[in-house]
Amino acid sequence: MDYVLLLQRIFDALFNSAIYSSLALALVIIFRSTGLLNFAQGEMATFTAYIAFVLLSGPQPRLTGGGLAGLIPGVPFSIPLAIAGAVICGMLVGAATERALIRPLGGASDLALVNITIGLLLATNSLMAQWWGTGPRFFPSIFPTGAGQHFMILGARLRYSTVGVWAILLSVLVLLVLLLRHTRAGLAFRAVSISPSNAELVGVRVGPTLMYGWALASGFGALAACLSANSVLLEPSMMLRVLVYAFAAATLGGLDSPKGALVGGLIIGLSQTLIPAYVPFIGFELSVLPALVAMVVILLIRPAGLFGTKRIERV
């Protein structure tokens, strides 16, 4: 066995893993803080990546779609500034979505929630296609990506961008765990996701808490989209496929566990690259299958996922 090649494959898989993990993390944040799932998470993230793209390119109607040209500031932004703008925009969109579409439902059935977020997915996707077209667009990377921009470790190349994405992902994860475990706000998030009415009774304002949860998750989704837009190319459906893997990652790890999202993303990303490479009868097309089979098996044994807490059903 060629260990350098194996290491190289692992390094390559790490980049995708980071992307899956970060979107999974966004899903987990929403689930953890609101008990809901947002099927439009990927689409909302892509939308904000387009915002970053618009900020980067400055006022060029050809790129930005006629309707939006007027909104764009005169000077192109630098990459970090544009990403920051996208994240802020993502937070606003997330908060607005919660306020306008989710809160008025008043905790209706799961199906209603699925309807709303899928409706949002469709609408956002097609509006993006309308404004920006469906052609892929180049989105610059925040990390150096050219030839030679990598570490050499035991003969395998580890790109700077992979390291960078993981550094960002891990620091966000640490912040998130600190927030949920050790702050008043984190406790409030958890209380609301368990029982909104009891949370009101201890003085937690449920509505705003949910809104912050959505803002947080959408902001994080925006970050994930901007970091991945360079490698998957920016187009309206770019997160659709990623979203399926992120779902799988989140389910695998346990929907309410940030740590689980990370591990789930790693498992999905690695198996996607490594299994087709070493298992002869599984071609690249089938590469998602092992991950999904793993997901089903884990759900069979532990319906709450690897790290998820089992819901305590009251009788």
Partner: protein, 471 residues
């Protein structure tokens, strides 16, 4: 119309008569459709009815069992590919493939349902959406001879079109230009009819009631001795089997299947149809199928003249409008079109339930509005509006048949309300003869009866004429 136009006791002779009228409408709609519609529109109708079967399959799990399983596009795909492969490669007949497809669907349902149904709520939605998302890539697998059977990325065509054998050419519409699609229309109607019969009986049976009990209260159902995993899995498998049947119909109608036809966008279409029609009602599934295809079609058509972006004729606007519709319905009409239709129906006709002894719980005569009756006025409106819509439909059709074709057909079909106006008109005249109505009612009621009769006559003559033209 604040008061219903007609009040009948449940199961009384008059109630039955109104039921027959409703059935007559339905039959009229079904028979007229292949006669009146252009061939390409019949093709859409076929698509819609196939969607209806698939939506019914989703409804069985989501609406009647309360399980959020949303990946039925995959079962449709399985049915479609099995059919295409057997018919094209093995030269089987469709009716020979039918049992195979049903069984394969059922087995797939058990295989997927057994693990998937262990998880609940949104988790299940996740798992099943993943199932829908992977399916299109699975048909491209080179190993195990799968790609050879499915045609891989190129899809699989059935070279022989399904056309009517000589002894069935008497079917309405099956002749001349619209022959093939109209014949397939009748096959689809037949399959849909049988499906409806089977499913309604299934839901009334013991296992069917257990399925409903689980939806209403899972823990409670378990306490009453319902075996949850078995009932849920069986129901899921039946639903999967039905989804595969829709796939077979798809292949039969289109003669071509490809992985891209069965993406998770199709799964989303099914959900939209479900919500649009009405979750948890059989009629809702049928209506949902019709609307999903028609709205999709309509938005595509307006995208082009409005200069909106389209890709392969599938305008993004269509998806945006679907998204909007989904959100609006969830907020404002969670019961779907069926519940809206029931609201309208309750304005037209009120059915008074019976006491256990068999009498109406409130005497029918107590609903009689007496001298103040406005029923004749309402009946007159009902007699006037449909012809106007008919004319509007006609005009729209002639102005730009592309934009409004099917929509205009819908407008024109309101003429089927004419008999209601006629019957209410004569009811009022009878009441007047009995001295229960003011004299001023007489003229209006006469007018309503006359116009209603004219509309009815028009429908009959028109249908006859289409028959004559076609034979």
């Amino acid at each position: 119309m604040s008061e219903p136009l007609v009040v009948v006791a449940k199961d009384s002779a008059e109630h039955k008569r109104w039921k027959y009228v409703q059935w007559l409408y339905l039959a009229g709609f079904l028979v007229l459709a292949p006669l009146v519609l252009e061939p390409f529109e019949i093709g859409k109708m076929n698509r819609a009815l196939i969607m209806s079967v698939a939506i019914l399959a989703v409804n069985l799990v989501v609406g009647f069992n309360g399980m959020l399983a949303l990946g039925h596009s995959a079962f449709m795909g399985i049915g479609a590919f099995v059919t295409a492969s057997m018919v094209q490669d093995e030269n089987w007949d469709y009716w020979q493939v039918l049992p195979v497809v049903l069984i394969v669907g059922f087995i797939m349902g058990v295989v997927i349902g057994l693990p998937a149904l262990r998880v609940k709520g949104l988790y299940l939605a996740l798992v099943t959406i993943a199932q829908a998302a992977v399916f299109p890539t699975l048909v491209n697998i080179d190993e195990l001879g799968i790609a050879a059977r499915t045609g891989g990325p190129n899809g699989k065509g059935v070279s022989e079109e399904v056309i009517a054998p000589g002894y069935l050419e008497w079917l309405p519409g099956v002749d001349g230009a619209r022959g093939g699609s109209a014949y397939r229309y009748w096959i689809i109607i037949l399959m849909l009819g049988i499906t409806l019969l089977v499913i309604t009986n299934y839901l009334r049976s013991r296992p069917g009631r257990a399925v409903l009990a689980i939806r209403d209260n899972e823990a409670g159902a378990a306490v009453y001795g319902v075996n949850l995993p078995i009932v849920k899995t069986m129901n899921f498998a039946i639903s999967a089997s039905l989804g595969s049947l829709a796939g077979l119909m798809w292949c039969l109608d289109k003669g071509f299947v490809a992985g891209q036809d069965f993406t998770f966008l199709l799964a989303i279409d099914l959900i939209i149809g479900l919500v649009l029609g009405g979750v948890g009602t059989i009629q809702g599934s049928i209506v949902g199928g019709l609307f999903v295809v028609w709205v999709n079609d309509l938005t595509k058509r307006i995208s082009i003249p409005l200069g909106l972006y389209t890709l392969n004729g599938d305008g993004p606007l269509a998806k945006a409008i679907f998204g909007l519709i989904l959100i609006l319905f969830t907020f404002f009409a969670p019961g779907g079109i069926v519940s809206l239709a029931r609201m309208v129906q309750s304005k037209l006709i009120k059915v008074v339930p019976l006491t256990p002894a068999g009498d109406p719980i409130q005497p029918i005569s107590s609903f009689d509005p007496g001298m103040e009756s406005k029923r004749a006025d309402s009946a007159l409106k009902l007699a006037i509006v449909p012809p106007v819509l008919l004319a509007v439909g006609w005009l729209l059709m002639n102005v730009d048949s592309l934009i409004v074709g099917v929509f205009a057909f819908g407008l024109r079909m309101t003429i089927l309300l004419a008999p209601v106006a006629m019957l209410v008109g004569s009811n009022e005249l009878k009441a007047h003869a009995d001295g229960n109505r003011a004299d001023s009612v007489q003229g209006t009621a006469n007018m309503a009866r006359l116009l209603g009769a004219a509309g009815t006559l028009f429908v009959i003559v028109y249908a006859l004429q289409r028959f004559v033209v076609n034979y």
